[in-house]
């Protein structure tokens, strides 16, 4: 089958490109103090709004230029990656755990379990997510953990809906009935027979959700509701860049590009992994 081969190649390239960028960003985040060329908080009014390295007026050591307080943009982006990744992993994992579990139960057991869980999801999704997040953080107070909790609390429904539908599809298959006839218990079938078949979707969603968490964190930082304003965050840098767009476009453009690349990479990486994981697609 030619089609299969082509799409597999496509997914391979996607997987490696997206994975490469994510790995780079992750390593930079972990080793930020070692790789950042400057102190991300150091202000120097002599060096304010330096342009990136290829433009005239650039200074060595300030690769992507500086912001209006003279802070090195590259270093701030690298340190901002730390918060982005912490939020991405923690929030996505929490949302995944809650949502996938409920989705699996609703999809496999059906009946009243499904009715209750689906109703909760419906009510939940009636709230506009960004407003919901802002509201939650306002209630919980700003800080890293409230951002994580807010994202998990809002986005578990994404996992729940998708995994419920996938599980229902699997539960109708004959192999599940066969397992019943053989004498396996319901929970055993759910975990051993059905769950492995929805894992590829869980993985894809998890990666997608990490990207979404990065965006939401950026939005919250942008409206100044994320963590303390001292630590650089991508959203915070974008917010500052917006104010000096005419004098120093790079302060806005570089964090935006970084954000978009990261979010896209997360979603592409997830899709690629799903294709890789799935024995039927493989």
């Amino acid at each position: 089958m030619d089609d299969g081969r082509i799409s597999r190649h496509g997914s391979g390239a996607r997987l490696w490109l997206a994975g490469g960028w994510l790995l780079l960003a992750l390593l930079a985040a972990i080793f930020a103090p070692l790789v950042a060329p400057q102190d991300p908080l150091a202000q120097d009014l002599m060096f304010e709004r330096l342009p990136p390295f290829w433009m005239s007026g650039a200074e060595p050591g300030f690769w992507l230029g500086t912001d209006s307080l003279g802070r090195d943009l590259l270093s701030r982006l690298i340190f901002g990656a730390r918060i982005a990744f912490i939020v991405a992993f923690a929030a996505a994992l929490a949302a995944c755990l809650v949502g996938s579990t409920l989705g699996l139960v609703a999809g496999y057991f059906g009946g009243w379990a499904d009715r209750i869980i689906s109703r909760i999801v419906d009510v939940w999704m009636a709230f506009p997510p960004v407003l919901f997040a802002i509201l939650l953080v306002a209630v919980l107070g700003t800080g890293l953990s409230s951002v994580i909790i807010a994202i998990a609390v809002i986005d578990w429904t994404r996992f729940c809906r998708v995994i419920r539908a996938e599980t229902m599809g699997q539960a109708r298959m004959d192999y599940v009935e066969n397992a019943r006839i053989a004498g396996y218990g319901r929970i055993g079938i759910m975990l051993r027979e059905v769950l492995p078949n929805v894992v590829p979707s869980i993985v894809a969603l998890l990666s997608l959700e990490m990207g979404i968490a990065v965006i939401v964190e950026a939005i919250l930082s942008f409206v100044n509701l994320s963590i303390s304003t001292d630590d650089p965050t991508w959203g915070g840098i974008i917010a500052e860049g917006r104010l000096s767009i005419h004098q120093a476009w790079w302060v806005l453009v570089f964090p935006l590009v970084t954000l978009i690349l990261t979010v896209l990479s997360f979603s592409q990486f997830g899709e690629g992994l799903k294709a890789r994981f799935d024995p039927v697609l493989r």
Partner: protein, 293 residues
């Protein structure tokens, strides 16, 4: 004293709207015997199989009748005991060999798992047993097959795997639900021959669901003809083909292509027969409703 392997007596099942899908079905399968269950699509053949195996869809409710598996009344057992009994004594050879295997698990673990976890075999014992059965279903490269995912095998190979799995734990009764329908014609014959051969060698009773009278003639000793959830005729296979009693059975035979003369004109079941059947069903429902409100 009841020596039947399976004995179904007066089994009726209804849908939520009150319509009967099974109409006082009675049939029995003796140990080591193949009982064919034949009828057109929607007659309720699969329902009977599912009822026996305890996997009726939740919307279908048994309202009357008994099912005895080796003398044990399935209706009287606690759910857990029933599951254990069914799991130990029965197996299914399904219609669609693709969806009957778990797509994300390799064939080997998928087959041994049941022996080990449910029936308490040792891992080695289960592995040896599975290999023996794969040999019996004429799979020549068991090492490769055991490592495959289901989608990596052809339909015929998958069905061989499922037949091996069905016989592996020496069940007393196998329900074979149109086991060759999803396969192409050349493979159908091989699979049918395999089932017949393993059935003889293992002495397993089979409830063989099919809509193909040609298959009935080849494999079974007894036949039940089902129409709209009602057994309209039951006989020894040879007797049925020699002298079909019910007009519907005769019509079914006239509608079956013969290998000897495939171009002979096939007659659809004619209107008089259908009208007779409708009257028969209505009368049965009338008689049934009286005591059941």
């Amino acid at each position: 004293m009841n020596a039947s392997c399976l004995n179904i007596a007066n089994l009726s099942a209804v849908l939520p709207n009150g319509a009967r899908v099974l109409r006082s079905v009675s049939l029995s399968v003796q140990p080591g015997e193949v009982r064919a269950l034949v009828g057109e699509s929607g007659a309720g053949k699969t329902m009977i199989g599912k009822a026996v195996l305890g996997v009726l869809p939740p919307s279908v409710r048994i309202v009357e009748g008994d099912m005895l598996l080796e003398g044990e009344d399935l209706g009287r057992l606690q759910p857990k005991a029933r599951r254990t009994l069914i799991g130990a004594r029965t197996a299914l050879i399904p219609q669609d060999p693709l969806t009957a295997l778990n797509p994300s698990r390799r064939i080997g673990p998928q087959m041994t798992d049941r022996l080990v976890r449910i029936l308490g075999w040792s891992g080695q014992g289960a592995d040896a047993r599975i290999r023996q059965l794969l040999d019996e279903v004429q799979i020549r490269d068991p090492d490769r097959v055991l490592k495959c995912y289901p989608h990596e095998l052809s339909g015929g190979m998958r069905q061989r795997v499922l037949i091996a799995a069905a016989f592996a734990a020496e069940p007393r009764l196998i329900v074979a639900d149109e086991p060759t329908t999803a396969l192409d014609v050349t493979v159908q014959k091989q699979i049918l021959r395999l089932i017949a051969q393993l059935q003889r060698e293992h002495g397993t009773a089979i409830l063989f669901v099919t809509h193909d009278l040609g298959v009935v003639a080849k494999i079974s000793q007894k036949v039940s003809v089902l129409y709209a959830g009602k057994v309209v005729e039951e006989a020894e296979t040879a007797a049925l083909f020699a002298a079909p009693q019910h007009p519907y059975t005769r019509a079914l035979m006239a509608a079956t292509p013969r290998y000897t003369d495939p171009f002979a004109s096939l007659k659809p079941v004619d209107d008089a027969v259908l009208a007779g059947l409708a009257a028969e069903i209505a009368a049965a429902d009338q008689a049934w409703r009286r005591p059941h409100g």
